[in-house]
């Protein structure tokens, strides 16, 4: 059913309105709206209505690691988290580096039918960082790939990065870069470099390994007249460079993860691989810089880097365990609690950072739209008063590497609506 009457919802947290949806499209926004009895009603008194969230950085693990996540389970987790679109990272097995692979992800997303699953294409063949993947064919495929990334493998070769930026400029694509200079932070780097990494004896991941790549990529974006997106900025130094690049008018955008907005490196002191993520959790000074940057718009978007892992891949020694943590279902609660209740953002700006801006960066039409007649009814209802305690076992993800387990947040997703259809709700998906 894609006809729906939402009543009494506070639009972007403001005035309460009714929203009438016909065939997936908003046809009227007003007060005292009525609809025929066969139209599904969603009483939303006290809830806030926002455009559905868009995640620029999701790992769905299919194809290749369906034991950790499938497109269907990841999509269910996304819908539960208020997302209506996710960008599926290319580091699957096989890698999404061809048109066929991208279309396969798109089709599996359609089959799941809970969120729009938009594939991200690899920048280089097999994520090897050497030869460009078929960027144009991926773009011309049914998947219309616009965002390219080698994910955790930074495109560190400046020549390859330059060519990729030049190449995607032709069709308005963007390269999403995991900014990690591999010479300064090698593959084993797993703890923010500083006193704690020294004490714990863990391989350090210095801030400069991030900021130096952002600086280089900003210069390359300027030189090529192309567009670069900085995946998960995590350091104050990185933020500083992003701010500088934007001030120069360089076409650069940036995202931050919920975990880097709240969790700090101190969680590593017990060597629990649940908290092992790349880039690593940082000191509280960096967390503060990231919050400020998200508030003032230096950082454009929140992206989860949802990274499910089978339990046994996390049960190795810390340096040997897999990087990554879950994030889709908890993102809103974390961002709301940290940023809105923390007095740094209002709900309308949260909606920009979690929906409108990421939709714009990804070039996704039909997401992140204003809530008005004629727009697709792709929405999320949130309860800003509800408190919840995260239970890892209750996740719709197949994996349980959940750093939020046992933590309490104020703010919860009530219902997610994709083109007029409720894809998730507190009462369970319809």
């Amino acid at each position: 059913m894609s006809d729906l009457l939402i009543t009494g919802a506070r639009l972007l947290g403001g005035e309460a309105k009714d929203v009438l949806v016909r065939e997936g499209t908003i046809v009227e926004v007003g007060t005292g709206l009525d609809a025929p009895g066969d139209v599904e009603r969603l009483e939303a008194d006290g809830l806030a209505l926002l455009p559905g969230f868009v995640d620029l950085h999701t790992h769905l693990r299919e194809p290749g690691r369906e034991d950790a996540e499938t497109i269907a389970t990841g999509a269910a987790a996304a819908a539960a988290g208020g997302y209506t679109a996710v960008l599926a990272m290319a580091n699957t097995s096989p890698v999404t580096d061809t048109a066929e692979a991208a279309e396969r992800v798109l089709d599996l997303g359609h089959e799941a039918g809970l969120v729009d699953v938009q594939p991200i294409g690899a920048v280089t063949k097999g994520l090897a960082g050497e030869e460009l993947a078929e960027l144009v064919l991926m773009h011309r495929s049914r998947a219309r790939v616009r965002v390219f990334s080698d994910d955790g493998r930074c495109v560190s070769d400046a020549r390859v990065m330059r060519r990729a930026l030049e190449y995607v400029r032709a069709f308005g694509g963007v390269v999403s870069q995991h900014s990690q200079d591999p010479d300064l932070a090698g593959p084993s780097a797993c703890c923010h470099e500083g006193e704690l990494s020294g004490r714990l004896g863990l391989p350090g991941w210095p801030s400069v390994a991030e900021s130096s790549i952002i600086a280089r990529d900003a210069q390359l974006a300027r030189h090529t007249g192309s567009r670069v997106h900085v995946a998960h900025v995590t350091t104050a130094e990185g933020v500083e460079v992003v701010r500088w690049a934007k001030a120069q008018g360089i076409d650069l955008t940036a995202e931050v993860t919920p975990h880097h907005l709240l969790l700090t490196q101190d969680l590593l002191s017990g060597y629990d691989p649940t908290f092992k993520v790349n880039p690593p959790l940082r000191p509280s000074e960096d967390v503060e810089a990231l919050r400020a940057a998200l508030a003032d718009g230096t950082i454009d978007a929140v992206a989860t880097d949802h990274a499910p892992h089978a339990r046994h891949d996390k049960e190795h020694a810390f340096v040997d365990a897999a990087f990554g943590m879950l994030g889709l279902e908890t993102a809103f609660a974390v961002v709301h609690d940290t940023m809105v209740r923390g007095g740094r953002l209002d709900l309308a700006t949260l909606a920009d950072r979690m929906s409108t801006a990421p939709a714009r960066i990804a070039g996704l039409s039909g997401h992140g739209s204003a809530i008005e007649a004629g727009a697709p009814a792709t929405l999320v209802l949130v309860d800003t008063e509800a408190s919840q305690t995260v239970d890892a076992a209750a996740s719709k993800s197949l994996s349980r590497n959940n750093p939020w387990h046992g933590m309490s947040f104020t703010g919860a997703v009530h219902s997610t609506i994709l083109r007029g259809r409720v894809t998730a709700s507190l009462q369970g998906a319809s």
């Binding site: 020294g198 004490r199 004896g201 017990g270 020694a317 810390f318």
Partner: protein
């Protein structure tokens, strides 16, 4: 973590020995005192005591080790425990089994303790959360090596007496050393002043803030420290191994340059002994003779290198006793084969 096994004294012993931080000053004292009793067993003709009869200790070594593993094995055997060595190489781990599965499999056999050497920092902490047995850290990555620090303290005390107010300089590849991280804790808890000496590239990350927080000194000038130009005269010098492979990582240029700056060369040794004939020189081994320590220094009268190895067995007996033996178990007792000792 929670202290469950208490020794015969009032000192609370932790369930596991994962870090030197698990032992407060009182517990360190207790372990060292018991080690002295255990040391006497080494001199007996029949070295077997019944203290840990019926206990099973697994030496689980994921990394090569000669002295630490044999030291733990001898310690366990002299105390009548059943000790079994398992090496990680060629074990299930190299077949892709998770660390948790590996240790829980062995734990399920009903063993009493794991003595673990692992190339990854924190591995022992993780294992302690997965198994019922006691866990003793025999060296984890570049993190800690608590029994080495205990035997170092024991050895230095035998020669110098109390370490309270003594000045210990630790020199070498500190960035990659688990020995220094454990020694920093134990030496400071025993009241010693510590100065770390290394080129900047071989210092651990964040060492400045760390030194300030914990109250130890740093220097890049070995001669300045040895000649007392930076603080008080040195009572003990601990030389740490420098791996030649570090040169490729850009940590230093050549062995020659390292030795000129930080090696305990023959002239440095002569100067040092002239200033203070009572100085002691330690090295946890294995030594790179000619690189961080000259042959003359390694074999000098001031060198405690072999005393350290000897003490290693006694200290490990003490640790096994305090972690594994029941409250009523006598420390040393008589040898198992008759009372003729």
């Amino acid at each position: 973590m929670s202290a469950t096994t208490s020794s015969t004294t009032q000192t609370r012993m932790p369930r596991h020995l994962l870090s030197m931080a698990d032992l407060d000053a009182g517990a360190i004292r207790t372990v060292l005192d018991t080690a002295a009793q255990m040391h006497d067993v080494q001199k007996r003709e029949v070295k077997k005591i019944p203290t840990l009869r019926g206990r099973t200790i697994i030496n689980l070594f994921f990394e090569d080790s000669t002295r630490t593993r044999s030291s733990f094995e001898i310690a366990g055997k002299w105390m009548s425990a059943d000790t079994i060595n398992i090496t990680g190489k060629g074990s299930a781990t190299s077949k892709g089994e998770s660390l948790r599965d590996t240790v829980r499999t062995i734990d399920a056999m009903g063993v009493d303790a794991f003595v673990i050497r692992h190339g990854a920092s924190g591995a022992c902490h993780q294992v302690a959360g997965w198994v019922d047995a006691h866990v003793i850290n025999a060296g984890d990555g570049t993190h800690e090596h608590p029994t080495q620090a205990l035997l170092d303290a024991y050895t230095m005390e035998r020669r110098l007496g109390s370490l309270e107010g003594r000045h210990v300089a630790i020199v070498g590849d500190l960035a990659h050393s688990r020995v220094v991280r454990s020694n920093l804790i134990s030496l400071q808890r025993l009241g010693a002043h510590v100065t770390l000496v290394a080129p900047p590239t071989l210092m651990p990350s964040g060492i400045g803030a760390w030194a300030e927080r914990d109250g130890f000194a740093l220097s890049h000038d070995l001669d300045g420290v040895l000649q007392g130009r930076e603080g008080k005269a040195v009572d003990a010098l601990m030389m740490l191994r420098v791996q030649k492979e570090r040169m490729s990582g850009g940590y230093f240029s050549t062995a020659r340059e390292y030795t000129v700056g930080y090696g305990l060369t023959r002239p440095r040794l002569a100067d040092l002994v002239e200033r203070n004939p009572e100085i002691v020189i330690c090295h946890p081994g294995p030594m790179n003779r000619g690189l961080e320590i000259s042959a003359d220094a390694a074999d000098a009268a001031q060198s405690l290198v072999l005393d350290q190895v000897s003490a290693g067995v006694a200290v490990r007996m003490s640790v096994l006793y305090h972690l594994l033996a029941g409250e009523d178990t006598p420390t040393v007792g008589t040898t198992t084969e008759g009372s003729a000792a």
